[in-house]
Subunit: 350 residues, 2 copies
Amino acid sequence: MATGQQYNVAVVGATGAVGAKMLETLDKKNFPINELLLLSSKRSAGKEMDFQGKSYTVQEATPESFEGVDIALFSAGGSVSKKLAPEAVKRGAVAVDNTSAFRMDPEVPLVVPEVNEEDIQKHNGIIANPNCSTIQMVAALKPVQDQFGMSRVIVSTYQAVSGAGNEAVEELHSQSKAFLEGEELKPELLPVSGEKHHYPIAFNALPQIDVFQENGYTFEEIKMINETKKIMHDESIQVAATCVRLPLFTSHAESVYVEVDKDGVTVDQFKEAIRNADGIVLEDDPANQVYPTPLEAAGKCDVFVGRIRKDLDNEKGFHLWVVSDNLLKGAAWNSVQIAESLAKNNWLNK
Amino acid sequence: MATGQQYNVAVVGATGAVGAKMLETLDKKNFPINELLLLSSKRSAGKEMDFQGKSYTVQEATPESFEGVDIALFSAGGSVSKKLAPEAVKRGAVAVDNTSAFRMDPEVPLVVPEVNEEDIQKHNGIIANPNCSTIQMVAALKPVQDQFGMSRVIVSTYQAVSGAGNEAVEELHSQSKAFLEGEELKPELLPVSGEKHHYPIAFNALPQIDVFQENGYTFEEIKMINETKKIMHDESIQVAATCVRLPLFTSHAESVYVEVDKDGVTVDQFKEAIRNADGIVLEDDPANQVYPTPLEAAGKCDVFVGRIRKDLDNEKGFHLWVVSDNLLKGAAWNSVQIAESLAKNNWLNK
């Protein structure tokens, strides 16, 4: 980031769980900001937020908000993105969208910079940030695809409540307290805000993230399946997912089974590929009980991988355990990485 | 249980997490007990425990304790079983052992009554109760094996702390409280008592249950792999497991992928097979958000199955979500079922 140029940046959804992390990451990575604009719904407008020692008043996001903006980071829900991202583009901004609104649009690149950074330059104004659980998995699988080929992935997730927003974090907190004090639990939000039925999340496991599709899969599972194929540029990869919400505040974990194409790959070769990959930290030493955990990954930008082992019955099968902060690499940091790449490569104006 | 005969029953490890559930289950199922003997280590001996309105003093387990005992239910750790189960057998008792001490011994039947009850009669005095995470999985997979054939299983587990004993339950409780009050966490027990390194379990996920083997698998994973093949009488089934300890007090959940042999099996046929199986409750209605959860399964003897769906890329692949109380069907209830079968079928004396 040494081009010397500075950018007008808008954060849409600044008061949300991911919005706060976007500000934290823009600061931490010292993104070259000229003017910063914090936008939100009408309800949250007026709130004051600090950034690099300066106070900002959050403003209601309208089409006109984007006049003069270079990069708009969206994380305020799919309907907001659908309405306002095209308005931002119309006014000359590039929108990096953290919702599912445009992810499967063939005209919109879906990007994890460690995997397919070059797709960014194909943008028509909008670049989509993948789903949190997809990002950490494809980041870990990229070196596997590159070095050994990859035909099949079966993943079961262990996902934190912060992926469902600040209110879900609050629900886990207050419900856990009530549970420990022997009080009655009154679930009101999880597994999915707006759904008819709510289950307790405290000391529980809910096999539903997002709404169900007609085929019995949840939308979260369908996102992992479709996004993985798009990001990795390979429709032939067989991907199966089971997504589970757990009483974790931060970081998703994933139990991933992958089948490689190449014959005779050893565990050491597999580990070496992971160790050398961008954005990945290998934490894998069973003899010393070294493996990643959600609590230890929280607050960090990397994707952590451990428990790598060969399937005992399938020569081409490997198992791994992938952990990352769902609000950082899974959302804010990946968006800021895309913004960095836009700036660094001069891909803003095409 | 209407033979009219009554039995002298010993519970070894009566003061432990599973021991308490054994007493609860013997009572609930009205097992025909003549004399009840509560045994424990020297440390816990002397404690008073109630059973069906009568108070019992827990006694130290010694070889002589088993004089006159018909059925001894062991759940006091592998070393106690190794030492005392043969002593019980020598004195004419049949030992139902809930530890891993004898499970893979070719002379010892390993039994989940819904799956292989007939193996009980081959006993030479000892019958092994499988690992908790194995029991609920094979119970759910038995109708699949019977009706469609089964070549492959890949499972990722979501396991409760009560599987690691009362002290682990206490650790999750006190650590969760400390976490919510912003206090420092001082893990002392989990993931494995006696190991060098301890990780916090509160609001975390630990990909280690039991100790690591040289091949990078944990012993819990190896147990699931080997026990499944033995119970289902098929060494050719490919089984892969990843076992994860979570901040749940009671009930294990499992994300299971299975490949059937038969062509053209539909989701409806698969569900029907599960629905009609002994000991299984199908809870599977995505449109109404019906699926099993650990909190709802706690305190019940059944195995609950939901989220059944076909793999989108593999015609013979199915995914399911299996939940059961790890201390009941996963331990105490399965042991008492074996005792019931011994009594009902007159398989005590051979």
